[in-house]
Symmetry: C2
């Protein structure tokens, strides 16, 4: 058992070796953190709640890793480089082992992405993790959801439904390689960098591929023909609505499409979204809704 | 009853009239918000949990206002100007009236401080409000906790214990002017600006004047003589340990002390903190601890 301040102390130097690279001027421990950047700052906050974003009894190390990874995924979707993160943790207890494990996951991802923990808050209450991420653009261009143009090819980079299968396997105590796709998702920072100058629009797929594609098309005031037979699935066609994959879904002119992108459709001026299948697949667009 | 996306939509234009002044380039609705600043960025996150930071059954408008105000207080303590905020709200229900009231408090404080809401998250779970604030320095100097120098005068700007009395009055259904001190605290941005070039160290008093003063002195590797008879109190001497006042406590050279500052002590090289009283007051330093 530890006091609040002893627990906060455990986290104080995470990513301190990257302060200089990331422009951190004043490190955690003051009323605010301070950083400097000549480029615009991108920022996002993501809440992860027990029973919604991670299962009850998940390992604290996985909870930390996953909560931070999903926030970093938003930075990837804007074609930006992550610099720093803040962590607000509400926990009902002060068990040292829990915090040690949570710390381990936090350190792991801090080193993987070379990002600095610059602030946070620790409060007592039902388990709730909020992660704020800060980043800056790789190029002069920041990708948004609203830039898709008619004629653009819609792409993803990976098979859908792996995380959803991983969660099922985890719950059923089945040891499978999909579990890491759910518990330890990778933010596709390098992919964001690769497409930063060639893509017109981008979104990360957190709520389900079709739901997120729809959000991007709506923001761009376009529609699309989506070739659902071309989308690699893990379990079945419902994977197109399965959340938690954290891939990037992006649009770009046909001549810019690389071999490692998976082409899944074409942007159309007409705002309808046509789900096209020769295999007779019939699926509606459904996304995760909190209420 | 509303869907998650209808509820998020309610919040989408808060403070949009200040986007330009605050350097907001890409507004809420994308994966990240984007802003630009030639100066360093200061940032902080604060969680507000029901039963800890606000009482059960508090008005949602007050919950919103208070949660944001206490986060802004951290910006004030660094002598910075607030630019923007993000809001992560975990709520167990989707009652429209609750969100309308919460929205009202959010709009009120956005207009009061001319700050823009740039992002957020809405999730289902036990009530938990996380506020991220972003600001930039008024002057070339950013105030920290660690700059206090031996010989500096320690000052505050207001009577202590008003918020604590306000909370008691609110709980006992007593109509008093102190209730607003608790439910609607003011972030002392103007005071931060006023002292930005003359103070050596600053902290906001959220956990109790003595506890926060101790943190500032520890960070500065100094001690102090504190003249507790000189500290204006509201109820009794325990007000010196009462939280939630959100005043600034700062140190500065004697010749810089203005008439409107309340002098409460002097910084000493020796790391001991002496609580001096001629009235025979006997009090220990106690601060709020979550565990």
């Amino acid at each position: 058992m530890n006091s609040e301040f002893e627990l906060i102390d455990l986290f104080k130097n995470i990513g301190s070796e990257y302060y200089k690279d990331n422009g951190i001027i004043i490190s955690p421990g003051d009323d605010c953190a301070v950083f400097k950047s000549n480029k615009p700052i991108v920022t996002s906050i993501d809440a992860s709640v027990e029973g919604v974003h991670f299962p009850k009894n998940a390992n604290p190390s996985d909870i930390a890793y996953r909560s931070i990874a999903v926030a970093l995924s938003d930075i990837a979707a804007m074609a930006c480089r992550p610099l720093a993160f803040s962590l607000s943790v509400t926990v009902p207890h002060n068990e040292h082992d829990w915090f040690e494990s949570f710390l381990e996951g936090t350190k792991k991802i801090s080193d993987e992405y070379r990002i600095s923990l610059i602030g946070g808050d620790l409060t007592s209450g039902p388990l709730n993790i909020n992660v704020v991420v800060y980043g800056s653009p790789f190029s002069e261009k920041i990708l948004t959801r609203s830039g898709a143009k008619p004629g653009d090819i819609i792409c993803i980079s990976a098979q859908v439904g792996k995380a959803s299968k991983g969660l099922k396997d985890w719950k059923n105590n089945i040891d499978s390689s999909f579990i890491d796709s759910y518990l330890r998702p990778k933010a596709k920072i390098e992919l964001g960098k690769e497409i930063s100058l060639i893509a017109n629009a981008c979104i990360d797929t957190s709520d389900g591929l079709l739901a997120d594609l729809k959000k991007m098309l709506n923001a761009s005031r376009c529609g699309a023909d989506v070739y659902i037979d071309d989308i690699p699935i893990t379990s079945d066609i419902n994977d197109l609505n399965a959340g938690d994959d954290y891939d990037l879904c992006f649009t770009l002119p046909e001549e810019m499409v690389c071999d490692n992108f998976i082409k899944i459709g074409i942007v159309k001026e007409d705002k309808k979204i046509n789900l096209c299948s020769n295999k007779g697949y019939d699926i509606d667009i459904k996304g995760y809704e909190h209420y």
